[in-house]
């Protein structure tokens, strides 16, 4: 390789792991957070449906 070109791009390969790590950590952490929020939301919605049913059943039992 032309030594001047090698000099121009001298920092590219050494910096690559840091750039890849920065983007990978950011994207992965964001993805994990989104999955956590969405699964938490679904779980809470399911619990809510069960509890609402239980409250309705209890109120129905009381009124009868």
């Amino acid at each position: 390789m032309n030594p001047i070109l090698a000099d121009i791009y001298a920092t590219v390969i050494p910096s690559a792991p840091f750039i890849i790590a920065a983007y990978a950590i950011l994207w992965l952490a964001l993805l994990v957070y989104v999955i956590k929020v969405v699964s938490g939301l679904k779980k809470t919605e399911a619990q809510m449906a069960v509890l609402e049913e239980a409250v309705r059943a209890k109120e129905g039992g009381v009124s009868r």
């Binding site: 121009i8 910096s15 840091f18 750039i19 950590i25 950011l26 957070y33 809470t44």
Partner: protein, 253 residues
């Protein structure tokens, strides 16, 4: 005298309908921004070359720095962390003036996202610093004030977990969110007051080139949309959890 009715934020309203589209649009825009950072925005100049070289018809006089590509996400996530903190402090003030717990919920959710984006800023910044300066940490003014901000945000959650009384917890949390908010302008202005080589004032140094500015703008809008979508989803989950607890209490009675 007629008392002014306080509008209380609630889940399930029109902003919730925008949460998933905002998240999807944010994902698309940040992906486009990522591609623009590497394929559209020109690399910045490093050390001067002894002999200039003609590369693809362009006279190159400096080393080409690729590590600067981290900037295209580092700066937008830092700005988003400030914006989320401003929202947290705003809802903290609303709680202190109205004593309505819902505002505390809003403030807590915004602070949670602040912490997330502060961590992103720290991680991306540290990796950049490690390569450019050969150290993981340096006591530079912007880094120090931002570290203080991160510690205040962590203290906010430590405090929340250590107090059981909801009223007292919300009051202290609101005060801490305001203290953290005070650090935002300090953090933002510190490089203007104490010049630093690690964090240059871009506007003072001639601004960004159009390709750099366009890339930052795309990522910034994308990250804002992601933050908005996450805030609405998380707020919806928090409200559902509160209603669930109320139902459990009702059943126990």
């Amino acid at each position: 005298m007629v008392e002014k009715k306080v509008r209380i934020p609630e889940a399930g309203q029109w902003p919730d309908k925008l949460a998933l589209p905002a998240l999807a649009a944010g994902a698309v825009l940040t992906t486009v921004g990522f591609l623009m950072a590497f394929l559209f925005a020109a690399p910045v100049n490093g050390a001067a070359l002894d002999t200039p070289e003609l590369v693809n018809g362009v006279m190159v006089t400096h080393q080409q720095l690729i590590s600067q590509k981290i900037f295209y996400f580092h700066m937008p996530v830092a700005i988003v962390s400030f914006v989320m903190l401003i929202f947290s402090a705003y809802y903290g003030i609303r709680f202190l003036t109205t004593r309505e717990q819902r505002f505390d919920t809003c403030s807590r959710v915004a602070m949670e996202l602040t912490l997330l984006f502060v961590i992103f800023t720290m991680v991306t910044g540290d990796l950049w610093t490690r390569f450019e300066w050969g150290v993981w940490w340096t006591w530079e003014p912007r880094l120090t004030t931002y570290l203080i901000l991160m510690l205040i945000v962590i203290a906010y959650f430590v405090m929340r977990n250590s107090i059981d009384d909801p009223e007292r917890r919300a009051t202290y949390a609101s005060v801490i969110s305001l203290i953290a908010f005070v650090d935002v302008p300090i953090c933002f202005m510190i490089t203007r007051l104490i010049p630093s080589s690690v964090h240059p004032v871009i506007a003072r140094e001639g601004g960004m080139t159009p390709d750099m500015a366009a890339t930052v703008l795309v990522v910034m809008i994308g990250m804002m949309l992601v933050a908005f979508g996450l805030y609405r989803l998380r707020f919806r989950e928090a409200r559902l959890a509160e209603r669930l607890q109320a139902l459990k209490d009702q059943l126990e009675d």
